[in-house]
C-alpha cells in the first residue's frame, strides 16, 4: 500500500467514523438509562434529511446541523413518550421509529433530491491553514467528536447526574429508593441521544456525501447499536469502535477507487460482517457489562 492510499484511508476513515461515533455515544446514553432504541437508523435519517433541507434553504450548514439536532431530539422524545410514558415494548417501538424515520425523511428530502450544497466548511483549528495537508483538514463536527465522547464519559462516570442515570439503567427500583425519578432521567437521556443521532445523520449528508438520497444511512444506525455492545457501554471504547468501522468502510472505498479486482458487493458486506464478527468475539465476555435493567420497562414500585 503506497503513502497516498494510506493517507486517503486515514482521512476518509475519520470522516465515516465521525457519524458512527456520535450515533454510538447517543445510544450508549439511552442504554445506560435502560432503554434500547432500535430506531436510531430512523433518527439518523431524519437528521440527515432535515439538516440537508435546512442547509439548502438557508445556505448555512451550521444552521443545518442545529436543525438536525433539534429534529433528532424532538423525534426521540416521541419515542421516549411511548416507551417511558406509555410503557410500550422497546424493540417494537424502536423498529416502528425506524419506519417512521424512513418515511418522514423521504418526505422532507423529496424537494432536495439532486440539490447541490457547499457542505460543512473545513476549518483549521490550530492556525495551520496554509501548512496543513488539505486531505487532513476536517469540518468542525469531526474535531468535536472525540471531545463529545470524553464529555459524555465524564457526565456518565464523574457526575451525580451520571450516577443517577446509571442507577436507573441497573435498577429503577433502587433508584426510586434513592430519591431519583427514573422516568425524568430517561427522558433526559433519550433527548440527548436524539440530539446526537440527529447530528450523526447531519454529518453524513452535510459533510460526507453532500447530497440527500432516500435511505442513505444504509444500516449505519444498526451498526451503531452493535457498536454499543462492542464498546461495552463505554463512550471511550466507542471511539476505538467508530475508528475501526470507519477504517473498514474507507479501506473498501479506497480499494474500489484504486480499481482492485474484488466485487464491490463483496466489499460492501465487510462492515456488516465485521460487526457480526466483533459481536461474536466479544460475546463471551460481554455478559456482565450490560446495564441490568436494559430493555425492561419500569412500571413503578408497589
Amino acid at each position: 500500500m503506497n503513502g497516498a492510499l494510506l493517507l486517503g484511508v486515514v482521512a476518509s476513515s475519520v470522516m465515516s467514523g465521525t457519524s458512527l461515533l456520535y450515533a454510538t455515544i447517543g445510544e450508549i446514553l439511552g442504554e445506560r438509562a435502560g432503554v434500547v432504541n432500535l430506531g436510531l437508523e430512523g433518527i439518523m435519517l431524519i437528521g440527515a434529511a432535515t439538516g440537508f433541507a435546512a442547509t439548502a434553504l438557508t445556505g448555512d450548514a451550521y444552521l443545518g446541523v442545529a436543525a438536525a439536532a433539534l429534529a433528532g431530539t424532538a423525534v426521540n422524545l416521541l419515542f421516549a413518550y411511548l416507551v417511558v410514558g406509555r410503557h410500550a415494548n422497546q424493540l417494537a417501538t424502536g423498529l416502528t421509529l425506524m419506519f417512521f424515520g424512513l418515511g418522514l425523511s423521504a418526505l422532507i428530502g423529496r424537494p432536495f433530491v439532486g440539490t447541490l450544497i457547499a457542505g460543512l466548511p473545513r476549518v483549521h483549528p490550530f492556525g495551520l491553514g496554509s501548512m496543513a495537508n488539505p486531505t487532513l483538514s476536517y469540518d468542525i463536527l469531526v474535531y468535536l467528536a472525540v471531545p463529545t465522547a470524553l464529555l459524555v464519559w465524564w457526565l456518565l462516570f464523574r457526575t451525580t447526574w451520571g450516577l443517577g442515570l446509571r442507577a436507573v439503567g441497573e435498577s429503577p427500583v433502587a433508584a426510586v429508593a434513592a430519591g431519583l425519578h427514573p422516568g425524568r432521567i430517561q427522558y433526559q437521556a433519550l433527548g440527548l441521544a436524539g440530539l446526537l443521532g440527529g447530528v450523526a445523520g447531519a454529518h453524513l449528508s452535510l459533510a460526507v456525501t453532500m447530497t440527500w438520497a432516500e435511505g442513505m444511512t444504509g444500516g449505519r444506525g444498526f451498526i451503531a447499536v452493535a457498536l454499543v455492545i462492542f464498546a461495552r457501554w463505554n463512550p471511550l471504547w466507542a471511539i476505538v469502535g467508530a475508528l475501526l468501522f470507519g477504517g473498514a468502510e474507507s479501506l473498501q472505498l479506497q480499494l474500489q477507487a484504486a480499481g482492485a479486482d474484488v466485487s464491490p458487493f463483496i466489499m460492501n458486506m465487510v462492515p456488516y460482517l465485521l460487526t457480526l464478527a466483533v459481536l461474536v468475539a466479544w460475546g463471551w465476555r460481554r455478559q456482565g457489562a450490560a446495564p441490568a435493567a436494559l430493555g425492561r420497562n419500569f412500571v413503578g414500585v408497589e
Partner: protein
C-alpha cells in the same frame, strides 16, 4: 372457541371497531402532514379505493401484494411465541429466492413435477439456513438474535447482487442485470387468470399450519410453555435450545418461501430489487396482529391497501413510495401507546 362462539365474535367486533378508530386517527394525522407538505392526499385515497375495489384486477393486485406479507409475518410471529425476535425476514426472503434460483439453474431440464417441489424445498431451506445462523449464535449465547438478524438483512441482498452481476448474469440483460428467465416449468401457476399465484395458497397453508401447530399439537404446547417462562420450561425438561434452532429454521424457511414465490411467480427471474421491505413490514404485521393467525391475515390485507395508497401517492402526487411508512408507523405508534401496561405481544 366453538363453545362460546358468541363471545368470540363479540370480542372480534370490539377489537375491529377499536382498530378502525386507531386507523382513522392515523389517517387523519397523515393527511394533515401531507397537506402541510403541499400535497393532496384525499385524491390519492379516492383513487386507491376506486382502483382497488372498482374492478377485479385492482383487487387481485391487493392479493398479490398481501402474499409475501403473510409469509414474513408468520416468520416473525412463530419465533415471537418462544420469546425470540426475528427481524430478519428481509434477508431470509432474499436467501430463499437465491437458493430457489440456484435450483432452477441446475434442474431446468426437468418437468414441473420435479421442478416446483424442488424449488419450494430449496426456497424454504435457503431462508431457513439464513435464520439458523442467528439461532446458533443465540444458543451459544454469543450474539442476541435481534441484532444479528438485522445485520444479516444487509448482507443477503448483496449476495444476490453479486450473483446477478456476476456468475448468473443473463447475456440478454444489458443495463439492468438479472438472472436468465426461468423456464416455464419452474413458474408457479397463476390463479383466476391474474397475477395472483399459487404462492397465495402456500401462504394460506403456512398460516393454517401455524395456527394448527400452536393450538393443536404437543410441539405448540411446549412452544407456549417456553414463551410463558423459559426457565420453568427448561426445568420441566423442554429442550429450549432445540426449540430455538428448530423454530428459527422453520420461520426463516417460511420467509424464504416468500422469496421463492416472488422469483418463481412474479419476476420469473432473480433481480436485485426483489423486496420493498416485505420482511420489515411482515414484522410489523405480526406485531400488530398480536401474533394471532386471524390477525395476521387481516393486517396483511390492511398493509396491502396501505401499499396501494403509497403507489397512488407516488403516481399522482409525485411523492416517494417510502412516505407511506409514515402512515404505517403512525398506526403502530397509536397501538403501542394504547396497549395496556404489562401486555406485550412479542
Amino acid at each position: 372457541m366453538q363453545r362460546n362462539g358468541a363471545a368470540f365474535w363479540r370480542m372480534v367486533s370490539e377489537r375491529s371497531a377499536a382498530f378502525a378508530f386507531v386507523a382513522c386517527l392515523a389517517l387523519v394525522a397523515f393527511s394533515a402532514l401531507l397537506l402541510v407538505a403541499g400535497k393532496n392526499p384525499f385524491s390519492a385515497y379516492v383513487d386507491t379505493l376506486l382502483y382497488v375495489f372498482g374492478n377485479g384486477y385492482g383487487f387481485s393486485e391487493l392479493l398479490v401484494r398481501m402474499t409475501p406479507l403473510v409469509f414474513t409475518a408468520v416468520a416473525a410471529a412463530l419465533p415471537a411465541r418462544i420469546g425470540l425476535i426475528n427481524v430478519g425476514g428481509e434477508g431470509q426472503l432474499y436467501m430463499g429466492a437465491w437458493l430457489a434460483t440456484a435450483g432452477e439453474l441446475a434442474l431446468q431440464n426437468h418437468s414441473a413435477i420435479v421442478l416446483l417441489p424442488a424449488l419450494t424445498v430449496l426456497g424454504f431451506v435457503g431462508g431457513g439456513l439464513w435464520a439458523l445462523l442467528p439461532a446458533i449464535l443465540r444458543v451459544l449465547r454469543l450474539v442476541n438474535e435481534t441484532i444479528s438478524t438485522l445485520l444479516l438483512n444487509y448482507i443477503a441482498p448483496l449476495i444476490v447482487s453479486y450473483f446477478i452481476f456476476g456468475p448468473w448474469r443473463s447475456p440478454e440483460s444489458s443495463s439492468y442485470p438479472e438472472s436468465p428467465a426461468f423456464v416455464d416449468a419452474a413458474r408457479l401457476p397463476s390463479l383466476f387468470h391474474s397475477r395472483v399465484h399459487a404462492g397465495l395458497l402456500y401462504a394460506l397453508v403456512c398460516l393454517g399450519l401455524y395456527w394448527l401447530v400452536l393450538n393443536r399439537t404437543h410441539f405448540g404446547l411446549e412452544m407456549r410453555a417456553i414463551g410463558g417462562n423459559p426457565e420453568a420450561a427448561q426445568r420441566l425438561g423442554v429442550g429450549v435450545r432445540r426449540y430455538t434452532l428448530v423454530v428459527m429454521f422453520i420461520a426463516g424457511g417460511v420467509a424464504g418461501l416468500a422469496g421463492m414465490a416472488e422469483v418463481s411467480a412474479i419476476q420469473g427471474r432473480l433481480v436485485a430489487e426483489l423486496s420493498p421491505g416485505y420482511g420489515y413490514a411482515g414484522f410489523l404485521v405480526a406485531w400488530l396482529a398480536g401474533t394471532a393467525a386471524g390477525g395476521i391475515l387481516a393486517m396483511s390485507f390492511l398493509f396491502a391497501v396501505l401499499g396501494s395508497i403509497g403507489d397512488m401517492l407516488q403516481i399522482t402526487q409525485n411523492l416517494p413510495y417510502a412516505v407511506i411508512n409514515i402512515l404505517m408507523a403512525g398506526i403502530l405508534f397509536i397501538v403501542l401507546a394504547r396497549r395496556p401496561i404489562g401486555r406485550t405481544a412479542s
